[in-house]
């Protein structure tokens, strides 16, 4: 990654290529908030931080990350800001201002989208933000482009004096391909924030987003920048066309979908009938280039994931140029040929092409698919989403669930985003009843708490993770405390941003660069707000349940229970067992009355196995992390734990 000179072809993950592009562009600041599939970019840069003398941070949330990166830009440095698509929602408030004020040093915002919501709570599409923000949007179509486009995005940003939006997707960020690296810059820029100049001077004046009452002074120039970008896009080498001069059908596509489209056309042998216009600069679309390609074909298929962003923009252009282009038929999401949810793949494109071109359906693989499906169903073990062996969340939810059931007033838990989101599933005993954005569980609970005054007796609880606590839960907690909302807020503190790969957060004493950081004490924060705070170890089931039952009965104001136990995959725990756990088969009641497989049917830690022949539980020695919690739930005392020898 730090290779200084032009290199031979290297195998790089898309996210590595983006990081390399940023290094080649000479960034000095990178910020972000962890989120799949974006996290590797910041992690990668943090590993280069010392050698390249750059500053890298995991910010408290995406909005702050954008602000940190913007500051570098204001001081004339190049900066990269990275987040997943949901993060753009968080950052959007600031970004809408930043787009008005403009930037100085090149600033690129990378959003890694997750079509199909493989690692997300919701499926989204960040591209419409580019239109809303009125900033240029770039979408790399392969791994080389991911690197080159990122590097070029900084030049574009400095050319138009605004930040540039670069959007990747899971299959671009997490897949790998060959990349030829370029040179890394020799010299670093020296920062200075110039602010004494004329109010409207973009180089030396104060950086402000709007002048009240005269939007044309800031908003006007911003839109001018966008027109300038469109002009530059007319000649961009990231927009390519491959196919016959006069195709029967033109595919317009971008990002990973350009790879699916190429594969589909190739597999169907349609190279002489179908052309592919791969767009790298997808907002604003360069009108002249588009018109050139729209002239010949009568039929146009737009292949893209999630929202019909490209499709609508192409249609607008075609409508504007209707007099020149004539009547075209568009296929895509509106026509039903391309789905609006989930990831695409070559098969989806093939099926669309068959329908549009009237090709016979191919049932040659139907038999294979049927057989493969049958084998998969019978031979592949059934695996559902669950917490890892030894996960503290399982223990926490066990106690939360039991406390709520014993309380008997139909209490419920509001949740948000983290591994603990799975709490709505059987692995969390169906405990979570609302799930939305980061920190929203606490805010929703704050609201439910106020409804209690209309004679609703249900106890209100919320859970949030430790990283989420700092990210977005604090304002909601302040709201709950300030308005004396009678709620129990539970922080599932597993000592890191565990879901995305153990990135540090403000509660820890080290930064992503390995530098010492101030560890913010969340308990002290809560206490300073005036909330009663209890800290428990969720592995102590009895004490956790007891504490919760009492907290749920309190009626005045918000209280906080911190359930602290490090993630079982955390570096400090990994590979180290606290206890040796064993099952005494002669004592295990199994599926008989008195137990009915509580450990393997209800508790369901993957480290517990049901021996269908012996009709007893046993421990999977390989994956058991030795947390010992199952010994506490076994009604017959068949599961025992003894301290492991280190």
């Amino acid at each position: 990654m730090n290779q200084k000179k032009h290199s031979p072809r290297l195998l790089m993950m898309g996210n590595d290529a983006i990081a390399r592009g940023a290094l080649e562009a000479g960034i000095q600041i990178a910020s972000g908030y962890p989120g799949t599939p974006s996290s590797e970019i910041i992690e990668n840069l943090s590993r280069s931080a010392a050698e390249r003398n750059i500053y890298v941070e995991w910010s408290t949330n995406e909005k702050v990350a954008a602000e940190v990166a913007a500051a570098a830009s204001f001081a004339g440095l190049r900066s990269l800001c990275v987040m997943k698509q949901n993060g753009v929602n968080v950052a959007s408030d600031f970004l809408l201002h930043l787009a008005h004020s403009g930037t100085r040093g090149g600033m690129v915002l990378v959003s890694c989208d997750d079509p199909g919501a493989l690692s997300s709570v919701n499926e989204g599409d960040s591209r419409p933000f580019a239109r809303l923000l009125e900033v240029p949007l770039l979408e790399p179509g392969d791994f080389q482009e991911a690197k080159d486009m990122t590097r070029w995005a900084f030049e574009l940003s400095e050319e138009i004096r605004n930040f540039v939006f670069l959007r990747s997707v899971t299959r671009m960020s997490h897949a790998s391909g060959c990349v030829t690296a370029g040179d890394l810059p020799e010299k670093a820029r020296r920062p200075a924030f110039r602010h004494k100049g004329f109010l409207l001077d973009p180089d030396s004046g104060p950086v402000i987003s709007l002048l009240p009452g005269v939007p044309e002074l800031k908003h006007g120039p911003q839109q001018e920048k966008l027109r300038k970008a469109a002009k530059l896009f007319e000649k961009s080498s990231f927009n390519t066309y491959k196919g016959p001069e006069k195709p029967d059908l033109l595919i317009i596509t971008s990002s990973a979908c350009s790879l699916y489209s190429r594969e589909a056309v190739h597999l169907l042998g349609l190279e002489d009938r179908v052309g592919i216009l791969k767009m790298g600069t997808t907002w604003p679309l360069p009108p002249e280039l588009m018109k050139r390609h729209l002239t010949a074909p009568d039929r146009i298929l737009i292949v893209e994931e999630v929202l019909p962003f490209l499709e609508e923009n192409v249609k607008i252009l075609a409508a504007e140029a209707a007099a020149e282009l004539g009547i075209k038929t568009f296929y895509g999401k509106k026509s039903g040929h391309i789905p609006s949810v989930g990831e695409l793949n070559p098969d989806v494109v093939i099926s669309a092409l068959r329908k549009i071109l009237g090709l016979p359906a191919d049932d040659s693989t139907a038999d294979f698919l049927k057989k493969a499906g049958a084998i998969a169903a019978s031979a592949a073990p059934h695996r559902e989403l669950t917490f890892c062996p030894g996960c503290p969340h399982r223990a926490s939810y066990w106690s939360i669930h039991n406390a709520i059931e014993l309380d008997g007033r139909e209490g419920f838990v509001c949740g948000d985003i983290g591994c603990y989101t799975l709490g709505f599933l059987p692995c969390g005993f169906g405990t979570l009843k609302t799930i939305h954005s980061m920190g929203s569980g606490t805010g929703i609970a704050s609201g439910f708490g106020q409804i209690r005054r209309f004679e609703m007796d249900q106890p209100i609880l919320a859970v949030c993770g430790d990283s989420t606590f700092f990210h977005a839960a604090i304002p909601a907690l302040i709201n709950a405390v300030h308005h004396r909302s009678p709620v129990t807020i539970i922080v599932l503190d597993n000592r890191g941003t565990a879901m995305t790969g153990f990135q540090p957060h403000p509660g820890l004493d080290v930064s992503v660069m390995g530098e010492p950081a101030v560890d913010i004490d969340m308990a002290e924060i809560c206490r300073s707000l005036g909330a009663r705070v209890e800290i428990r170890d969720p592995f102590d089931l009895e004490e956790t349940e007891r504490t919760l039952k009492l907290m749920m009965e309190e009626t005045d104001g918000a209280r906080v229970l911190i359930l602290r136990q490090a993630c079982s995959l955390s570096p400090e725990k990994k590979g180290r067992k606290l206890f040796e756990v064993t099952v005494d088969e002669s004592v295990c009641i199994g599926e008989n009355c008195g137990c009915n497989r509580l450990c393997t049917r209800i508790f369901r830690c993957p480290g517990l196995l049901w021996d269908g022949q012996k009709k007893t539980a046993r421990i999977d020695e390989v994956i058991c992390t030795g947390c010992g919690v199952c010994a506490g739930i076994c009604p017959s005392g068949a599961i025992t734990k003894k301290e492991a020898r280190v």
Partner: protein, 375 residues
């Protein structure tokens, strides 16, 4: 008897508010637990037959079969249930006056049974403020700590189930009528477990007309009295019509009409005032707050009473005719009201798939319902 599992227990009893919180289904498995007087099912259990259902005094209780099992005859619906004799009693000289709420008969008998090794542990009900706490006593002194009436429903049998699980052999139990019925069901070993042995060596039943919903009772009193200062709760005999609560500041009188609002719905379905499925049943002797009524039901009950009397632990004498008559009248009335209610709700001798609370002969039911209300 018809046997079902936890799913039916949940739908038939808990969800229908028929649970009296006796604790019969608690501590036999991890699924049912009791908290502050309420029994909750924590997780689904898909067994078709379970001890939980088998031991529930509100689920498919075949009183004829139960009566056959313990008294060798079908349930006859008589007001006081099967008994050998009815006496007046109080703690004997060996026990002395320990400020018992009534005659101290229960404490005296259980202390005697522990001392003599007739039982090795006693399942009792202690109290923390208003909340009844199940307790397993192994020493006679602990028995006296648990003396005094509790008016809130208690999951006492959870302590019994736990003691059985922990391997206790000869257990004495002080039980309300629903608890005594549950113990009888337990002793019937309906699931026909091969290794079953009867651990209940002495069951002392308590007269009971109703029990309060603990949570409602606490809510009702909180703000009125200092819960942490409660020393004693009593319902003096008519015509007082009040509940007396003694706390650190004095005596509080709550009209019984207000207290009855807090009675568990399940109590109105209970036909048993005198804990018929026990060895001995004990209540307060009307008009004599320092004496007990003692109903002797079984041979082993009789034996314990005569030994305790002989050793000076118990004093007994014949019950005055007027007291027996009034007790019989009151018990008959409770039976009549409950059976009428159970029948009207369609929970008696149901056909087909529908499940009942009780089953016994229609003839006996007719006899109960036709009984004269005389005083």
């Amino acid at each position: 008897m018809r046997l079902f599992g936890p799913t039916e227990l949940l739908s038939d009893v808990i969800e229908k508010d028929l649970c009296s919180g006796c604790g019969g289904c608690v501590e036999i498995c991890p699924y049912f637990r009791s908290y502050r007087g309420k029994t909750a099912m924590l997780f689904p259990c898909n067994l078709e037959k379970g001890s939980c259902y088998a031991c529930c005094p509100k689920a498919e209780v075949d009183l004829d079969a139960l009566s056959m099992r313990f008294f060798g005859k079908p349930f006859d619906g008589s007001p006081l249930g099967h008994h050998l004799s009815v006496q007046v009693s109080r703690a004997g000289k060996k026990i002395g006056n320990r400020g018992f709420q009534a005659g101290g008969t229960v404490s005296a008998l259980m202390a005697f049974a522990l001392m003599e090794g007739i039982v090795e542990a006693a399942v009792l009900t202690d109290r923390d403020q208003l909340m009844p706490i199940p307790r397993l006593a192994r020493d006679p002194s602990e028995v006296f700590q648990c003396a005094s009436s509790k008016y809130a429903a208690a999951p006492t049998l959870s302590a019994f189930n736990r003691a059985v699980r922990d391997g206790a052999g000869r257990i004495g139990i002080v039980a309300t009528p629903c608890q005594a019925t549950s113990i009888a069901l337990f002793r019937s070993n309906q699931l026909q477990k091969p290794d079953f042995r009867d651990p209940a060596s002495m069951i002392i039943g308590l007269f009971c007309t109703w029990a309060l919903d603990y949570r409602a009772f606490r809510n009702f009193l909180s703000g009125k009295i200092n819960l942490s200062g409660i020393r004693k709760v009593d319902v003096p005999p008519p015509p007082a019509e009040v509940m007396e609560i003694f706390d650190d500041r004095g005596k509080w009188e709550i009209p019984l009409g207000e207290v009855r609002e807090l009675v568990l719905p399940s109590c109105s379905f209970c036909p048993d005032m005198t804990a018929e499925f026990s060895d001995l049943s004990v209540g307060v002797l009307e008009g004599h707050p320092d004496l007990n009524t003692l109903v002797i039901r079984t041979e082993r009950g009789m034996e314990i009473v005569s030994r305790a009397r002989k050793e000076g632990f118990l004093f007994t004498e014949d019950i005055p005719e007027e007291n027996l008559k009034h007790l019989t009248w009151a018990a008959a009335n409770k039976k009549k009201r409950a059976i009428a209610k159970i029948k009207s709700e369609g929970l008696f001798n149901t056909d087909g798939e529908r499940r009942s609370i009780f089953r016994f002969s229609e003839k006996t039911a007719g006899k109960i319902l036709d009984g004269e209300e005389e005083k």
